[in-house]
Amino acid sequence: MTPAVYGVLFVFLAPVFGGLLAGVDRRVSARMQGRIGPPLLQPFYDLGKLLQKQARQVNPVVEPLLLGHVFFMAVSGVLLLSGTDLIFIAFVFALAALFLVLAAGSVNSPYSFAGAERELVVLLASEPFFILMMAAICKVTGASTYAGVLASPQLVAVQLPGVLLAFLLVATIKLRKSPFDISTSHHPHQELVSGLTTDMSGRMLAYVELAHWYESALLCAFMVLLFNWSVPLGLLAFAIAYALEVLVDNSTSRAKWQLVLRSTWAATLVFSGGNVLALFLLSR
């Protein structure tokens, strides 16, 4: 198969992957709390219902911005798998996330706005890591595309243990897990009401969910980059990482944004930065 085919497949399969992942997540979380939990396909039922429900327009720009959010999330994945430069992907990925911030900010209501600002803070916290990670992967493998990294004989994770460590931390932000889920505050938690999704109803909320499923799939694809020897190995690593995230999610309360920003930057600087520095110094 050509890389372009993988790109097209991503558009259709990533939501399935992301939705199932969310379903597993909710069941595992329920078991951790001594409950049985919803059916595995619950996220899809929720999405279907949201699409059937009335969507209240708070203003005319929210829906286009959310569509832009979904579109650029999907495009990030398509570009990634179809062989666009990895460092460029990091920028498109950030752009996609920014559209959600803009949608929530444009509502101009107290809860949405607070959520949007916090999302901007977590974007600021996580973005340096993704740029660094992509640069480090390119440096280690000498490749610049997804296929190129997978074809590399080097096992990236061995060369980049610091980056892997920081990835686990930063993924907490991107997977919207406590203690770093300060901008949406997912159910069953209700501080900030629902953060940046507070004023999004019906299909608006469905777009946010869909985009998040693409985002989860993208993170999984990033993990495969780190364990580039084989895709199953990468998937396994992602599964273990995700299980850890769920455990952390269920056993911590949310942090303040100051702590999120400081800790993420510190991890990025110390673990990833140190790793990259060592890489450059040793590769003379």
């Binding site: 909710r26 329920a30 709390q33 001594g34 409950r35 049985i36 939990g37 919803p38 059916p39 619950q42 039922y45 929720d46 279907g48 219902k49 059937q52 429900k53 009335q54 969507a55 209240r56 159910h187 069953p188 209700q190 009401v193 629902s194 999704t197 507070t198 004023d199 999004m200 109803s201 019906g202 909320l205």
Partner: protein, 141 residues
């Protein structure tokens, strides 16, 4: 059968109550009853909710709030009145500032009796609410 019956999201509002029913509503979320098994989520946000679960009666001060929350819920939506106070004003009915049950302000679809209402009957009320939700969806669709 649509997705509504599999994914009823709830907004819980407490009017003038003794908090007995509220405790029971929360009990429904605990491992013993675990309503999430049926896809029920407690959203805390009218814009995400399908079912407005009201405990307690309506008084002069919260009429505006109840109306506002109901208005902000997107269609289709149903209201479930939980407990004696929400149904009719209960033991507070004769108090000086009490208007009476929730149906004085917004249309109620399901009445769940009890003081306090038992978790089983609350869940049963929600299930009946789901049926009402389905009926409303069919009407609008």
């Amino acid at each position: 059968m649509s997705f509504f019956s599999r994914s009823p999201w709830i907004l819980h509002y407490d009017g003038s109550s003794c908090n007995g029913c509220d405790i029971e509503v929360l009990a429904c979320l605990t491992p013993l009853y675990d309503v999430e098994r049926f896809g029920v989520l407690n959203t805390g946000n009218p814009k995400h909710a399908d079912i407005l679960l009201v405990t307690g009666s309506v008084n002069e001060r919260n009429i505006e709030i109840v109306e506002n929350l109901y208005r902000q819920m997107p269609d289709p939506k149903v209201v479930v009145a939980v407990g004696a106070c929400a149904c009719s004003g209960g033991i507070f009915a004769r108090a000086y500032n009490i208007q009476g049950g929730i149906d004085k302000v917004i249309p109620v679809d399901v009445y769940v009796p009890g003081c306090a209402a038992r978790p089983e009957s609350i869940i049963d009320g929600v299930v009946q609410g789901i049926a009402a939700l389905e009926a409303k969806r069919k009407k609008t669709a």
